[in-house]
């Protein structure tokens, strides 16, 4: 798996999984993203993005213990793989390279 860049939602999901540090599952990942970015995100979008990233080798998952609050269903917990970290590095470096040289104060609306 080459360390290619991440899509917009993939970047958010990867950062949320890192922040949740071993407690990342679809519900907590969505709450982390919505809570910290204010971005509205459907449960389905998070679910397919987690699956896609696991297929790409950026994340790995395992099943946790079933709990009564979840109707006896296990959590599917996600962690970031070395390939995921490499993809994150590539994406952030690319973003920073593009940001360099932009007029100061651009993001505050002052050219």
């Amino acid at each position: 798996m080459p360390a290619s860049g991440l899509g917009d939602l993939e970047l958010l999901v990867l950062l949320a999984v890192l922040r949740l540090d071993g407690q990342a599952y679809a519900l907590s990942v969505r709450e982390e993203i919505v809570g910290r970015t204010g971005r509205e995100l459907s449960r389905g979008a998070v679910s397919v993005t987690l699956d896609r990233m696991e297929d790409k080798g950026l994340l790995q998952s395992h099943l946790g213990e079933p709990t009564a609050a979840r109707g006896g269903k296990a959590k599917r917990l996600f962690g970031v793989t070395p390939a995921g970290l490499a993809a994150l590095k590539t994406t952030l470096e690319g973003t920073q390279a593009l940001m360099q040289g932009l007029p100061p104060g651009l993001l505050e609306g002052r050219p």
């Binding site: 679809a26 679910s47 699956d51 109707g71």
Partner: protein
């Protein structure tokens, strides 16, 4: 929230372990926010819709699905035509019981094609987790085709063959986790 079988059915495109985890997430959220089974079902349908759409997301996946569809649809389409040719040449030539039995089977070529299509669609390798929901899409198309061309018995046989082949190929065990 205990009446979850509709939500579980809605989540059918997901692999077994992912389905159970997704249902668990919805039940946990419903429990925390005091929402009912109707909310769980609506959310499950939304999650499933994303997985259905994901199968067709990019060109390589679409090409893979089309290849698999052709592998299933060609025998389904060609078997009745082949049977027609065979029967045209063989009717009246043979009188022994074995030949008569074989010809009787070929006279029901629509049913044979439906069973073959169901078995192929259920057991054909080459699907990935992302493209797996498309197997259901093809099943619906072939079911409609069988119903239109060969009638309800053929459609029923297709469903039964598909179900049997899937049970053999991928037992629905939530503890079995197969990423691809």
């Amino acid at each position: 929230v205990r009446r979850t079988w509709l939500a579980r059915m809605a989540l059918w495109p997901l692999p077994p372990a992912a389905r159970e985890a997704a249902l668990g997430d919805l039940l946990e959220e419903a429990s925390a926010t005091a929402r009912g089974p109707g909310w769980v079902l609506r959310q499950a349908l939304g999650v499933a819709a994303h997985h259905h759409a994901e199968a067709w997301r990019n060109a390589p996946q679409r090409l893979r699905i089309i290849g698999l569809a052709l592998a299933v649809a060609l025998p389904w389409a060609l078997l009745p035509a082949a049977a027609e040719l065979l029967l045209a040449g063989a009717e009246g030539l043979y009188a022994d019981p074995a030949s008569n039995a074989a010809l009787a089977v070929w006279r029901q070529s629509g049913l044979v094609a439906a069973v073959a299509a169901g078995l192929l669609l259920g057991a054909l390798p080459g699907w990935t987790r992302a493209t797996e929901p498309a197997r259901g899409h093809l099943a619906v198309l072939m079911l409609a085709g069988s119903l239109w061309r060969d009638g309800p018995v053929a459609a029923l046989l297709l469903v039964a063959a598909l179900w049997l082949a899937r049970r053999r190929a991928a037992p629905d065990d939530p503890q079995t986790w197969r990423p691809t």
